[in-house]
Amino acid sequence: QHNNLTSMTTPAYIYPISIILPTYNERENLPIMIDLLHKTFKTRKVDGTVEIVVVDDSSPDNTLEVAQWLKESYADGLIEVNILSRKGKLGLGTAYIAGLKVAKGEKIIIMDADLSHHPKFIPQFLDTMERNGKDKVDIVCGTRYVNGGGVAGWDLRRKLTSRGANFLASFLLLSSPFGGTKISDLTGSFRLYERSMLEKVLPQVKCKGYAFQMEILVLAAKEGAKFAEVPITFVDRIYGESKLGANEIFMYLKGLLYLFFTT
């Protein structure tokens, strides 16, 4: 039994960055997202090709067809669209996990595909992660609440709900008389992850909905992750179609209590 020391090992990370985009009925928005991302990396050079992993859950509007067209149209080495098509509407959490499994990037960006998150902030995320050098940051969170951030399309009631929910979560899960962990936007879903941290934490996540985003951060904090924040603007174009109904609120509180008692 002699180890073949000359055997080839495939590098795990052949892209500097993978962007995971879960899609469900995003036939209209996905092409615009890809074009915006393409423009972003035209001006912000990275060392290699940026991978975009589209995880589509059998969208009835045939987002898959558009994704395949985009893959061909934008195959120019600047970005590379890779598609994971799943049978059935399986949910956001498993979409991230499945996307992470096929992604081959060193760093992982997770963002929404409905244009509420703007790719123009990605360079700031990257700079924030890179500039710390020895003081390495594991997760850079986009935050709507800090100076420079904000939301377009929310009324007072929605802002109140959002701030209230974040305060409650922060108080119950992260606060401490000795300082605690300072993350201002716990339910935000526009983040840059060091791959190893995400791989460690994501399989442990059990919550669904908004609490899912919180659980990732809370579990990462337990693993000693270092965080940084970047102000982002969030454009809510589908406000009116309830993205925040009684069911979402109930699931959120349930998730919050679960985390309060288990972390």
Binding site: V66, A152, R163
Partner: protein
Amino acid sequence: MPKLLRYQQFLAYAFGFLAIWSKAVQNQEEIIDKLPHSCCPTNAKLYKLAIDYAPIWAILALGIWAASSVVYGVLLFRSCPEAAMELDGQVKEAKAELSRRGLDKLGK
């Protein structure tokens, strides 16, 4: 020692507070004597009220702090309609580029 879970941390602080409080209630006369201006009976009454109902005041203070934090946060919460407008413009540009690349020819 493994780190306490969040609910355990809260319980620890609650029990700590209650322990100190019950001691304070037991020894309230001594404590009030040592407080400034307690020879005056109204002050003494206020001090006694403060000590006797300390947990209530603590919860009230917590509630007020929480409410003000949220209200403050909402007041500072920026609305950025210009971001929506900028996006609209970029959507138009993107659609033109996609059309140029032939997206429109994709059958429904």
